[in-house]
């Protein structure tokens, strides 16, 4: 028998190896199936609904006809304003936690709280939004109130993703700055931010765009059931795709089947476009960096 021949033990290990590979592969496929089914159904049933008219006309005839224009515009408004609100807030908080805060029990407690906040159900945020923005700050039901509610809801993930980008900048750079007499802010401004800002922004855009489909946080704070005009300022109410989908699928009789599928497909399209854009941007920037 040659010394390089497989032994009984080798054979047994090889069989096990094959088994586990099949098992894990199978699980993965199982996982992909629902996603594929959903996307395929949406495209098959909603695809025929899509057209210029669908995107650029308002719903009509008790929302059983027409398109999604005001809801599409409203969703973009809400997400854009939410972004504008959460970027400075989230980045400032992450900067404080990552660059200034001493490493003590209080900081660790705050970090823990932030992570846990990400798990708060969106309906709780919605009610908070009603209390804080609609009533207390008197913004009324408006884009502003809805966007701020969304912003608060996404802040935890924004802070976490920003902190990750900040912490990807090697510590040695900060020490080099400090050892030359730079203040924390000078180190942040000259070295930390320039090397992380693109990662921060793409991360934030990614996180906030994921809220495109949120319904609960906006339905009490700014999104309207039916409002066939475009909003003119952040103090107006507006329609939004997510709520519109909910309404025409469950609240309005006589809606033809292709309509909700078309809305769902549009909603998914926006998320996919925003996500892939920011992922591609991030990959591009990572590739460019060299230290």
């Amino acid at each position: 028998m040659s010394m390089f021949q497989a032994t009984e033990l080798n054979e047994r290990n090889k069989r096990k190896e094959k088994l586990f590979r099949l098992l894990f592969g199978g699980m993965t496929i199982l996982l992909i199936v629902p996603v594929v089914v959903i996307v395929a159904t949406l495209i098959a049933r909603g695809g025929p609904a899509l057209s210029w008219d669908f995107f650029f006309t308002a719903p009509s005839n008790g929302m059983t006809e027409g398109g999604v224009f005001p809801a599409l515009v409203g969703t973009l408004w809400i997400v854009a304003v939410a972004l504008i609100a959460s970027v400075p807030l989230g980045v400032a908080a992450a900067l404080y936690l990552s660059e200034y805060a001493p490493d003590n029990w209080l900081t660790r407690l705050i970090n823990l709280a932030i992570i846990n906040l990400a798990g708060v159900p969106s309906i709780v945020h919605a009610l908070f939004g009603v209390g804080a923005f609609v009533l207390f700050f008197r913004f009324g039901t408006s884009i502003l109130a809805a966007s701020l509610t969304l912003a608060i809801m996404t802040l935890p993930v924004v802070i976490v993703s920003t902190r990750e980008s900040l912490q990807a900048v090697p510590r040695a750079f900060r020490e080099a700055c400090w050892s030359m007499g730079a203040t924390r802010w000078q180190a942040i401004w000259n070295v930390v931010l320039p090397n992380s800002i693109s990662g921060i922004l793409t991360g934030v855009i990614l996180e906030v765009s994921r809220t495109v489909g949120e319904t609960a946080p906006i339905m009490f704070t700014g999104a309207a059931f039916f409002l066939p005009f475009l909003p003119e300022s952040v103090f107006d109410q507006t329609m939004a795709l997510s709520l519109h989908l909910f309404v025409i699928s469950t609240q309005v009789p006589g809606v033809p089947e292709h309509l909700p599928y078309g809305v769902a497909l549009t909603l998914m399209g926006i998320v996919v476009v925003l996500n892939s854009a920011s992922i591609a941007f991030r990959a591009y920037l990572r590739g460019k960096k060299k230290w």
Partner: protein, 257 residues
């Protein structure tokens, strides 16, 4: 006894704790101005800790406590009124791993200068500052055509020279170097050593090294530390030929590791 300001660094009864762990014990050192002093001793004996205390970068860690004082050019840098950024301007630090900033070569050189000068000099003056610093570290000819190139893509040797060069425009008194050659190959080490020797006189240099040959070759005085205490401080030639303590002899001959 020499005049006070003959000493660039003078520590008095310096004790330092990391939490409950005491890293320095009653360190009394008087380091003469304008020469190169080498600091040797086994790993973990507190060499870096002492160096970092002179730049006051240790206290960034919340759990560090010190007693005693350190004078730089006769002035107490541990006093309440002392401005940290001024200490760091006068006491420059070179690290074990070259750590140029991820900026252009030019911006690396001007970084400390800009931190410490409220007014921006003219473009011509800035070019002059950059050229002078790079010439002082013998890097000018190598990088003069690529001043806007990224500093982090230079060779390690050039990076370490750049890290020395970026300290010079603010005219520091003391240069602290923590094993500046340990990341370099022998040839680069020789080049950087030569450069350090060139800077002698203009600056007071305190250099930590693991390399006995380097300490012997490239220093005027030598300090031997063991377990957080200074055991011996004498002229380098004297220490290597005729060490006063048995521990020193053992270490120099490689019996400590």
């Amino acid at each position: 006894m020499a005049e006070l300001a003959d000493y660039a660094i003078q520590s008095r009864d310096l004790n330092l704790w990391y939490g409950d762990f005491q890293a320095l014990f009653d360190v009394n050192l008087a380091i003469r101005r304008g020469i190169i002093t080498a600091m040797i001793g086994p790993s973990g004996c507190g060499k870096s800790t002492f160096l970092r205390s002179v730049n006051r970068i240790t206290e960034r860690l919340g759990y560090v406590r010190t007693t005693g004082s350190i004078d730089v050019l006769g002035q107490d840098i541990t006093a309440e009124v002392v401005e940290l950024t001024q200490v760091r301007k006068h006491v420059g630090m070179v690290f074990q791993r070259p750590n140029p900033l991820p900026l252009s070569i030019r911006k690396n050189i001007l970084f400390a200068y800009d931190l410490h000068h409220a007014e921006r000099p003219s473009a011509a003056q800035r070019d002059e500052i950059v050229e002078k610093a790079l010439r002082q570290v013998l890097l000018w000819d190598q990088v003069k055509d690529d001043l806007d190139g990224k500093a982090t893509t230079l060779s390690l040797e050039a990076q370490q020279k750049l890290c020395i060069a970026r300290l010079l425009p603010v005219k520091p008194t003391v240069l602290l170097m923590d094993e500046p050659c340990s990341a370099l190959d022998p040839e680069a080490t020789a080049a950087v050593e030569e450069l350090i020797w060139d800077l002698r006189g203009e600056y007071t240099i305190l250099i930590v090294t693991h390399n006995m040959a380097q300490a012997r070759r490239a220093s005027d005085e030598c300090i031997f530390m063991l377990m957080g205490k200074v055991l011996e401080h004498s002229e380098t030639a004297e220490m290597f030929v005729n060490p006063a303590k048995k521990e020193t002899a053992d270490y120099i001959e490689g019996r400590y590791g």
